[in-house]
Amino acid sequence: MTEFFNDWGITALVFLPLVGALLMMLVPAKDEELHKTIALGTTVITGVLGGFMLWDFWGMGKANWSTLQYVQDRTWIDVINARYFVGIDGISAPLIALTLLVVPLVLIYSWNHIPNPGNAKMFLILILVLHTGMLGSFVAQDLVLFFVFFEVVLLPMYFMIGVWGGEQRLYAAIKFFLFTLFGSALMLVSFLALYWVTGGTTFSIPGLADQVAAGDIALGTQVAIFGGMFLGFGIKVPMFPFHTWLPDAHTQAPTQGSVILAAVLLKLGTYGFVRIAIPILPEAAVEWAPWIGLLAVIGIIYGALGCLAQTDMKRLIAFSSVAHMGYVMLGIATLTPFGINAAIFGMVAHGLITGMLFFIAGSVKDRFHTLEIKRLGGLLVQAPKMGWILGFCTMASLGLPGLAGFWGEFPAILAAYSPAEGISTTLFRVYMVIAALGTVLAAGYLLWLLQRTAFGTPSEEFADDPEIVDMHASEWIAWLPLLVLIVFFGFLPGIIFDLTDGTVVDRLGSLVAEGSP
Amino acid sequence: MLLNQFLGLAAILFCIGVYGVLTRRNGVMVLMSIELILNAVNINLVAFGAYQGDVGGQVFALFVIAVAAAEVGVGLAIVLLIYRNRRSIDVSEADLLQG
């Protein structure tokens, strides 16, 4: 088994969904049940395979988590030294697990929620392609390979928003596409620049990190290259002021699209910082850290204030994403192992919680055909179970201790108390205070959302609507795992912290050696 | 060896030809102008060949003559086709396609 994992494991994991998609292309479109079965079956098989691999990875013990496991390093494009180089370590493992979990749940939810205008075949194929792209981005250890997978994600999402989205879908889809395309173009340029300044011998991430550490590249060059990556990843996160595509994309995307976008796609940006930008260019990261921190706290406050101004439930959740990703970025900006561990935990927690919130928003929309907050109300009366789940998720989202959200936000704020060597401590303590203030605002808007949608009496227009029923079976199956995990990680956050800590310390390299122990 | 005179003649022919292509609107006249350019080329090639004492130029000129004949044959066929369909060979009237 281990031998299989070592030789083929990751390749099988990444490309299984694509095989499923190819299989589905051969099946005629009218056989929707079969399509759903194949799609779900493929992702479950992928999930099981991934589960075994991660279990095996877990079994290797803490000492081995920081080295890349199941590495495959094969020739790909010889002349430019781009290789098919993939592997899993402590940073990617939690995110791979998140992806493997969320996609099957989305497909279960899709069982009787194919959005208009139908065409289940195409919709499910796009989700499977997306799956391959996301898994590939998390395992790639070569910049060219990473870039390819990073772009693969773009296309299915564009079509999901554009075809199955809401009324403003054209605008949202094109905005999403052009923003991300612009970012990734700059990212590619900085990858190429990095390749040349290190002598043009490798695109592998560990290799480049070693070369930058060993060589004497002018700090100015490093800062410029980091800037390119910053734009590429920052747009994807999204950081203030590049966040404007997100509310549009989220509001217009179908539920499944929103969930995947919130749960996994946004993490590609932050993952890029943790995996690529900071380990390769630590010195430039120190220069950039105050700015990243600044934009992060602006994002936190701006997102929270934005939430208070929203009238649409989905848009509100989207703005809360901007705020939450602000905490993640603040954790990253401290450049300490503590902060980055918190950031990775924050990514997973945000994926679970916000994914859940978008699921609920989708179901509410299905029943009420609107997401306007002022027309909703009394969810607890009409659909009590769903109402309580909404309550639970808002609590998790505002960072209630004992639920997963807490462990993403609190340590990130704490980490800002003492950032890495070379970064202004005073500045980051100011950021810390502002970020802490953000949690209060978060509590404000989330409780306000809860109060106006779940509490109270149903508005007259929906009072006797027979379509408004409580949870469907498919919703239970899709949501339960997420809910359980939110509680589970709330009580046992150590599992993820243990997993990531060694790797983060190892990847930060010089930053840790110079800074505090 | 009077190389310069030959080259001068060729250059003049070339210029007349290019001028003709750019200004004439009659399909046949455009083809004739192109023939002038090709003849300029031939004069050049033969003159240079003789000057350098090399047969390559003459051989090249023979190829040009042969291929030009084919070209003009095809060209006239297309002009004739247009004339049949349209009763005119004015190039500027061929303006269905624009952009």
């Binding site: 292309m25 010889d78 781009a82 065409n119 554009g162 889809a173 190429l192 | 350019i37 090249f60 190829f63």
Partner: protein, 504 residues
Amino acid sequence: MVATLLGILAQIEQAPFVRPAIDWHAVAPELVLLAGGALVTVFDLIFMERGRKYIPTLTGLTFLAALVPVLTLWDNGIARSLFDGAYITDRYALVLKALFLLSGYVIVLMSTNYMAEGDYYDSEYYQLISASILGMLVMASSRDLIGIFVALELISIPAYLMAAWRKRDLKSNEAGLKYMLMGVFASAIMLYGMSLLYGLTGDTKLRSISSAIADQGTTPIITMAIIFVIIGFGFKVSAVPFHTWAPDTYEGAPTPLTAFLAVASKAAGFVALMNVVLYAFEFQPEIAEPFIWLLSAATMTVGNLIAIRQTNVVRLLAYSGVAQAGYMLAPLAVYEVNGIEASASAVVTYLVIYAAMNLGAFAVIMAAARRTRSGEIDSYRGMLNWAPGLTVLMTIFLFSLAGIPPFGGWFAKFEVFRVLLTGNTFSGVSLAVIAAVNSVVAAFYYLNIMKNMWFMDAPEGTDQSKLKIPSPLVAALAITLIVTLVTGTVLAGPLRNATDFLAF
């Protein structure tokens, strides 16, 4: 004068004609294609109407048969030189020959139903295509001005005829006329440049020309010769400002032929340009490079800006093809610092991938035209409903053209950028910036087509039943799809290795 001529004659008499040794294996692909073309003609003459439906298959098989010696030569791996170096069969030539033959095959597949259903003379059409492809094979190997000229005309003259193939359609007549006049004019200008080159060096072989003018620097006459020759090829590859024929001809000509012109004929133009620039002007970069730089920058910018305004898919692809030619010219503007091998590899890599994705896009257009009977972008609305497969294919080809991974196009562009940026020269970096901005502009109009196909509803009263696509067209789509997919992913490395012409 008379004395000189007599002298030459005397020379000839002294050295009786000796037949040069011919390496038959090296010219086998050309000979197979020639024999196949003759066979098709004879077959048509014998069986007349009864044989018509086998002609496309026969032509296609001829192309595949000619591919066999290409593969054996590749396997053999030795660069072969004929006629004193005027005709060379090396890896560079072989990659291009394979490209031309496969493109030819795909174009035959695309033509099959179009020609059979359109009441045209079909067997002559296939004979002309064979002739034109034969010219391309010769072009790939020619290292001599005469060879290049003859090959170029062998490619072009049949194409003039085919552009006017829809005899009774005025648009097609016009397409043929414009293409023919422009093409002949361009070859005349090119020939004038060639005659000057010959005069300067007394030789027609590119290598000899290169070494003869190596130390002559940049005299006006050399400058003039180089610029005339590049202008001549500029017409063939539809570089701005010599592109005006392309959109008109593309729209008016029969669609398979448009694909042929946009892909195979353009590729042949590039091969000619590369051969001349890289072999003969190797030591004159100070003239050739700035001129090509200007052509490249103008071509991509103007092509894209006009493409945005197009409402007809064929014209849009024509202008996008103009812009793509700009990207392909770019590596030739920096051949001095990179060495000619690097530039040639980037161009050939681009040509291969471009051929696949552009032929694919044209095949989709042809398949869709069976329903829409129009090339307007509006008529593609709601295509997701009546032809989901075609929609996905078109999406893949267009994204590939826009250079988005994982489809082949990104690798083609990547190679161009890499070559441009390698030397870290001002001209290279500035051209790369222009190209990058242009890629984003191009993404915009490709997205516009996709928007119509995916997001818009079909207008009322459109036939919504699923579209049936004839099998030859399906085969063409399958071939181009596979090439587009693998060149961007698993085979990107091998493709780049195959175009690594260290033995250039």
